[in-house]
Symmetry: C2
Subunit: 121 residues, 2 copies
DNA sequence: GGAGGATTCATACTAAAGTACCAAAAAGCT
DNA sequence: AGCTTTTTGGTACTTTAGTATGAATCCTCC
């Protein structure tokens, strides 16, 4: 609107060709159109697959169980997970077992797949 | 440009307010700007994480080995993979072993993770 | 038609994963 | 403090995964 007013004044002053003024205004608004459009599109660019905390709670996954799940998805063995979480391998196995039941999975690989589909990874 | 010419003629006919003409032209080009921008952005909308066939070849993964890899990523056991590919479990094990070496993975879960990072899944 | 990779399968073995069951701390909650 | 869930860990066991090795068949390419 401001730009529009300015262009109007330019005409009132009136020593330029009208076509030029129109061309200039058109160009300016053309660019503004592109600019605004790009901005709105980049504001929410991609629906980032964020971790769905609600679903985690819904499944009854405890904090520790979820941590183990994350480590599994990294491809770690039970022993490696035990080290990274500072617990025994027995503990990890317990968590894994419970986790598989809650995710309705038979294997850890399947657990990862299901977890991905549920957007909790 | 066509639109521009038309608007010029309208002025030559000259019985409308100049401000209105400018406003109209501005609006039209504004919309055109948005439209064109949206079109170019939707032409290549999202860099879809497509399977990188080159990388598969680069790793020396055979057709069958890759198929096994895909089944692994679905969370299937060796026995289940054997059934789905109509081969024995022994064969699957062979493929898995070779596949792990080529992907430089120690476990199938790790293979899946690496494969994802390489965009071959 | 022979060379070589791919696919198939087997046996025998080791390692890892997973189950079942139990039980003691630790942490939260009211 | 008392109750509940979580976290921890153990033993014992079964199952699955993975390795090593060897070998037959199939396919393709030259």
């Amino acid at each position: 609107m401001l730009l529009f007013k300015i262009s109007t004044y330019a005409i009132v002053d009136g020593n330029m060709k009208i076509e030029l003024v129109i061309a200039a205004v058109a160009l300016v608004f053309f660019i503004i159109g592109i600019y605004l459009n790009k901005k709105t599109l980049s504001r929410n660019p991609q629906k980032k697959p964020e971790v769905d905390k609600n679903k985690i709670a819904e499944l009854g996954l405890s904090k520790r169980e979820y941590e183990v799940l994350v480590e599994i998805s990294k491809g770690l063995s039970n022993k490696e997970i035990a080290n990274s979480l500072f617990v025994s391998e027995s503990t990890v196995k317990t968590h894994v077992s419970n986790l598989l039941v809650k995710l309705d999975a038979q294997r850890r690989t399947q657990a990862v797949r299901i977890a991905r589909q549920l957007n909790i990874l």
